[in-house]
Amino acid sequence: MSPDDHGGALAAFFAQMKPYLLGQQALAPTLRALGPPHGSEDDFSFYRVLAERNLFKVMLELYGPLRTLWLRRQDELPAAVGTWRAMVDEYIAAHPPAGRHPNCFGEALPEFLAARRERIPEQPVVYEELADFCWIRTRAHQAPDDEGDGFDSRLFVRQYSYPIPDFVAALGRDSQAPVPEPQPRVLLVYRHWQQLQVRLFHPSAAGLVALARRQGVEVPAPLQAVPSDHVEIADAALVEHGVLGPRVTAPA
């Protein structure tokens, strides 16, 4: 059955409920199409409240630090940046909730915010970096166990312009923690390949080369001069810290 089918009352019901629950159709036309509810209109419309409440709850739980900062600063930043509520409403409209797990609903937020900043330059960069960190931290925590080295699943390489992990920790202690000064750094967010804990690691240049080789990607030109014995040592350090699993050597 498709909600767009015209074959039955149930299909017609779903066809009306989808836009209504998404906030794309008002109550009056919905009830004109479906007929009056058996109880009050207030009871019927409570489901719209619940649907919206669920999405905001998911955003709160996935992006708590970002929400804290956004709510705190929404009155001091230019109006174009908008409120947390307005931003989430925009996000829902652009990315209707899909995917079995509620976390899936939040997946596109970092990219959404990056694209939004193209349109609204007043939106701080730190917002999308916070969102990205929150998201990949969750991803690393829940990634399947059997995905090899797990790049972009269990293991993420990021360069942020702010010390995001420290800022997230600070916001956890104090919702008024000031936004730190920019401090660009490369870091790895990963779940230890065996111990199941999400950790951070700051790789050296040799470490980045070791990661690139493991992932099978081309080593950037500025890093090609790193001596190979340094890369071997860095690879061993990455294994020791649980970023990577031991290298599997083919049997002779």
């Binding site: 009352a9 149930l10 989808k18 399947p144 065996q194």
Partner: protein, 346 residues
């Protein structure tokens, strides 16, 4: 209760060693032979007086009995240290299928110690979208690994045209919805190769297009699907209050003879409405209704749900202990002939 309240969005906890004993999945491990029963139909079993809380070995049944609790990430660390009675555990499988890491390791650790059953929130058995076959493969694999004797979900829809509302939404109580949903429940049981039971949900509005009562609708679906009922006693109470009905009459109107499992939980008042939020202790009228339900259906396994504002594990177990005392009292004297007529003849 919404999906948003039930899923893991948590971050790291202390690591557990991954333990998996490599046992081959077994559909039915002796004892009850579900294969000779209709989908979802489990026989009543009298309480046998044995201890309920023995860690299971590879030879013991995975059947839950007595009162269990939901496995929630907030309790992962505490349950490792827990020395109190934990009858059995219920999980939200969406948190484990295609997931790894600490949550899955913790589940495997628990499954070596207690029976575990799965209670899904996202299959949208009454919805218009096709059942997700890829997900069902993963779900069946998980159920096999847990040796879960049955699977439960909700009599509702959650998804329309690929949009997931992360809630348990009520269907119109119509003949068309009965046929549509029952066919999908049969399909689900076939895919999972085990009995399925569906839960009577809390509903805050009766949807337009319905032609029958909730009791008639639930009965018609489970009879046509030939499946079990997961009897949520708190939902019976919440619905009766919100729709100004007598909860005892609402209970009796359900197909109680199909009950495979019971849920009990707390709720919260929001304005004039009672919300099924699983975030409070049970109130006395729900305890009384639970005892009435048990007397009607017999000593079926009961799950104490606490999914929002989750307190310490000890507090949840205190509540479970109270339920266990009721369960044992009813079980010690129950026989099918004691069941009210509505439960036997529905």
């Amino acid at each position: 209760m919404s999906h948003a309240d039930l899923v893991h969005r948590g971050l790291p906890h202390g690591g557990l060693p991954q333990r998996h004993d490599g046992r081959l999945p077994q559909r039915h491990d002796g004892g009850l032979s579900h294969g000779r029963l209709p989908h979802g139909r489990l026989p009543h079993r009298r309480y046998d007086g044995r201890g309920l809380i023995q860690p299971r070995s590879s030879m013991t049944t995975t059947q839950p009995t007595g009162v269990g609790i939901g496995l929630r990430r907030e309790h992962f660390a505490a349950i490792e240290q827990c020395e109190r009675r934990v009858g059995w555990l219920e999980i939200i499988p969406e948190n484990y299928v295609a997931h790894g890491g600490h949550a899955l390791a913790n589940l495997r650790w628990c499954a070596e110690r207690w029976p575990v059953v799965a209670h899904g929130v996202s299959l949208s058995v009454g919805g218009p979208d096709p059942l997700d076959e890829d997900y069902l493969v993963g779900l069946r694999r998980l159920l096999d690994e847990l040796r879960a004797p049955f699977y439960t979900d909700h009599l509702c829809y959650a998804t329309i045209g690929g949009v997931n509302f992360y809630d348990l939404l009520p269907l119109p109580f119509s003949e068309e919805a009965v046929h549509h949903t029952a066919a999908r429940i049969r399909q689900l049981a076939d895919r999972l190769e085990r009995p399925v039971a569906v839960e009577n949900i809390s509903y805050y509005a009766t949807m337009p297009g319905g032609t029958m009562s909730e009791g008639q609708f639930v009965s018609a679906v489970v009879e046509e699907a030939d499946c079990g009922l997961l009897l949520d006693v708190n939902n019976v109470y919440v619905n009766a209050q919100n729709h100004r009905e007598d909860p005892r009459a609402s209970l009796a109107a359900l197909p109680l003879h199909r009950t495979m499992q019971i849920h009990i939980a707390g709720h919260v008042k929001e304005g004039e409405r009672i919300i099924d939020n699983h975030g409070r202790p049970l109130i006395e009228p729900v305890w009384a209704l639970y005892e009435q339900a048990l007397q009607a259906v017999g000593p079926v396994p009961t799950l104490l749900e606490w999914d929002t504002d989750i307190p310490a594990l000890d507090r949840v177990l205190d509540e479970a202990d109270r339920a266990q005392a009721i369960w044992e009292r009813v079980a010690s004297s129950w026989s099918p002939s004691h069941a009210p007529r509505t439960a036997r003849s529905a």
